[in-house]
Symmetry: C2
Subunit: 540 residues, 2 copies
């Protein structure tokens, strides 16, 4: 009874209130390091509970109207403080449920709270409201009325917690933070792989909502392992938008549900990504061993369960490429067999890897330590193939979720450009070059490298030079998105302050008397917002 | 042979080049004022032609990369100049094909060219690129790399011309202008109701593309009356986004196609809208006759074929409301029977009106002059009903596209609020109040009017006080959008400079050497763009 997981109750939180445990189906978390069930029984949310949470969110939305920026910022900060107050417990719970380790999880908690506070700062500053005022112009043809535009909250948002970041992309993660920052009530469908962590995070958010004097319906948390719960949530009438991080199959299913509603809603899903890496001959000549270490470190980080894990590496098909492969094999051989998040992830990875291994022309280049002991452990694996096999085999362009990556040998620099043009949409593409190589390319007109950069940018949301893709800063300029299947809309990011934009819509006020304009649109600008007046940004 | 329509050839323009007329099916335009076919035979685009246009667009997109803002602006200005150079001919052609009249069409041409020039100015200014630079921060935990984000063109855009604005919402209209402003090549599916006008506009755009030295694939124009042409265009692999203005059925069908693609694409459809108008007792007391004149003028403008036509009017169910109805009847009785855009519009309106007239509890309040002579003419019609009938009858909440509107009698101010909360999403909601009534409401706490305003804003994209909804200024603060079914995404507008945002996606450059960064992201800011650096807008 000393573990905090034994003190967690498996109750849905609807409008902040724990729901009585009913007699329906339940599920339990599993310790992925030991392979044994842990903690309490968590109930599957019923359709009535989904409806109750969505209805409470709609009521909260109607009651709060346009939340003042300061009120939203205080809520975000209160949530951060509430999470920190139970930080040790959260790290312990999350480690029990995910086996990601206390160091990583302590960092993830700091990232989560930092994200909430950055969003608070962003909301106070107010650029995201994109306030525009066009004064009346009676002399125009036709005469122009007074027009004032701002962004407002879309309405209740459904958030699906991800398995691989139990804090930063889960209940208190980027989707929840950005939806609340937009002023939207949130209903979270907790990921069933870490329900206890979700429960305690949800309680902290609900407590912050209450402490800030906001309606309880601003936040609800529902448990469920069955797809029916998520389906009912996306179809619930009051839900106005959805944030999701997870698998391509899951994200696409929710996207299709949202698009097929009588009133379609946007489903912002961040899904599968291969995060291709290109290594030029000059890069290998300059630092082959360092690149091998960097690559293996990046592909095994978090047991290969990062959205940005490099899953494809394109190398020259020559001696330097082979030497890089040998260096990768040497580093990989030292890698312990990490625990995957749950048995489902392990099963899916085994199946995918089986398909890949069976492709004629693909060989296993190296493996890390074989799994030993209990739990959902797997060996890190790097495979290799030639370009012709890669291009001829659609299965090789699907993500392995876990510590598996494929090296593809390219006969010429030009062939790297061609393959870059055909890449499936990814969150990132990384290019490692020789010292000064890119700059030389521009000035000397060496076409392949400039063309590679252009082709790569066309297929991703983040173009990286000389770094590996894992590690996603939460900042104004971050873009964690990309062409399908990386996301369902390449215009949007799920990380960084621009993530708030997903949950806003625009409204224009025409000829509305000053006395009843929202404060954000008044001439005297009581909120001190940045504004565009008559097409001029921030006139004095 | 003196009419310009006899000099138009019915050829698709693919990458700027007129296509030979094949042997397939064709169609002709119809003069809606006389009901007779006019002009040449226009061919239905084949699937091969759709593919050729989309492929040419993809090639142009790859060849142009990030078009410099100045190059885009010059193209937009060249198009405006090209349209003006054939302005008299365009007005004559459009009047022949739409019967909207030379005065209106001359104004629409000016609006169209003004829109192109406003977008040129907007592109040069550069706020829409939302440039954000986060300098590297090695001291952060984890260290933050140099990150630079901007918006780039999504890729080839398919535009579906609308029937009701043969210039401003058609081939050279807002969707084409905003897609080109974003740097996207455009493939237009011309509306079959004004193919000759479309053809001449398309030739002017193609000529401007050529004159600016841009690849011909930046613009293609396809004809077609069959739904197969539009379907093939939305499904064409290179198409990255769609702009549409038209019917709910048409927009939803295209949206569904876009969402169901292997790689879903956004379909920005602006569709049906009731544009409800609320008249308070105080408004009627102050200026009932003026409101009746304003309402009839707005609902019959362009023969009732504006997206923003007021299709519902909520009035107090009392003597003042009845007097307003009588005043409406008097004004309406003087209205001539206008020509609708084509026989299809007339047929659909007759059918809808038949359904509405047959509803128990709905009566015809007044009609304009009965149609006389040839062509697709109809009488303007105002119907009236009680609130209970309106709420009980779903058919009364569908748009009549044409000069038809429904007055709904509300027993109390509170009932107006209730019905406002239930409104289908609309582009606009208008509230007419007594002098100072809204301001008094705020200070004195008279709940209904404040609640009406809040409820109305929740159901529309533009909230209007004391004006009627027709008339949509093209300006930075305009928002011509709204909750479904007004549009497929309430976040976006199809009018005003914010319309450009639909056709952009974001990209982040991480650790990319200065020498190969796009000019928009370089420290020395050679394009003079507004920027956000380390979270600060436009630091000195």
């Amino acid at each position: 009874m000393s573990s905090p997981i034994d003190r967690v109750t498996g109750a849905h939180l609807i409008a902040g209130t724990p729901q009585p445990l009913g007699g329906g189906p339940t599920f339990r978390a599993v310790d992925p390091a030991r392979g044994v069930p842990i903690g309490p029984e968590f109930p599957e949310a019923t359709e009535a509970q989904v409806t109750a949470a969505a209805t409470a969110a709609a009521q909260a939305f109607a009651a709060t109207g346009d939340l003042p920026p300061a009120a939203i910022a205080e809520l975000l900060e209160a949530i951060a403080a509430g999470l920190e107050a139970i930080g040790d417990e959260l790290v312990e719970l999350a480690d029990l449920e995910t086996a990601l380790g206390p160091t990583r999880l302590t960092g993830e908690l700091a990232r989560t709270c930092g994200q909430l506070r950055l969003f608070a700062t962003t909301v106070r500053e107010g650029s995201h409201l994109d306030v525009r005022i066009d004064p009346a112009d009676p002399s125009a043809t036709p005469p122009r009325p007074d027009l004032r535009r701002l962004k407002v909250a879309r309405g209740p948002v459904a958030v699906f917690g991800a398995s691989n970041f139990p804090l930063a992309f889960s209940v208190p993660g980027g989707d929840t933070a950005s939806a609340l920052a937009a002023g939207c009530p949130v209903v979270v469908k907790a990921h069933p792989s870490h329900p206890a962590t979700s429960q305690r995070c949800g309680e902290a958010i609900a407590a912050a909502v209450a402490a800030c004097g906001l309606p309880g319906g601003m936040f609800s948390l529902l448990h469920g392992r069955r797809t029916e719960v998520g389906r009912a949530l996306v179809l619930a009438a009051p839900i106005a938008a959805v944030g999701f991080t997870g698998s391509l199959a899951g994200g696409r299913a929710l996207f299709d549900l949202g698009a097929a509603r009588p009133d379609p809603i946007p489903v912002y899903a961040e899904m599968g990504s291969l995060n291709p890496v290109f290594l030029t001959a000059a890069a290998l000549a300059a630092r082959s061993e360092q690149l091998a270490e960097g690559f293996v470190g990046s592909m095994t980080l978090g047991t290969g369960q990062f959205c940005t894990k490099p899953g494809l590496v394109f190398v020259p098909d020559d001696d330097a490429g082979r030497r890089f492969e040998q260096q990768v094999a040497a580093v990989l051989g030292e890698q312990p067999a990490g625990a995957l998040l749950n048995a489902g992830v392990l099963g899916a990875l085994d199946e995918r890897l089986g398909v890949t291994r069976a492709v004629d022309g693909v060989q296993v280049l190296a493996e890390g330590h074989p799994p030993a002991g209990a739990g959902s452990r797997c060996a890190a694996t790097v495979l290799a193939t030639d370009l012709a096999t890669y291009r001829a085999t659609a299965e090789l362009r699907e993500e392995h979720f876990g510590p598996v990556s494929l090296i593809v040998r390219c006969p010429t620099p030009e062939s790297m450009v061609e393959v870059a043009r055909e890449l499936p949409g990814s969150l990132t593409v990384s290019i490692h070059v020789g010292p000064g190589e890119l700059a030389e390319d521009t000035t000397s007109g060496q076409e392949p490298l400039a063309a590679l950069q252009a082709a790569a940018r066309g297929r991703c949301g983040r173009l990286i030079v000389d770094q590996f893709p894992t590690g996603v800063a939460v900042s104004p300029a971050m873009h964690h998105g990309g062409p399908y299947p990386a996301t369902t809309d390449a215009a949007h990011t799920s990380v960084g302050t621009a993530a708030i934009e997903r949950f806003l819509r625009a409204v224009c006020y025409q000829n509305v008397p000053a006395a009843v304009l929202p404060p954000a649109l008044r001439d005297d600008n009581p909120l001190g917002l940045p504004r565009t007046i008559d097409g001029q940004r921030n006139p004095a």
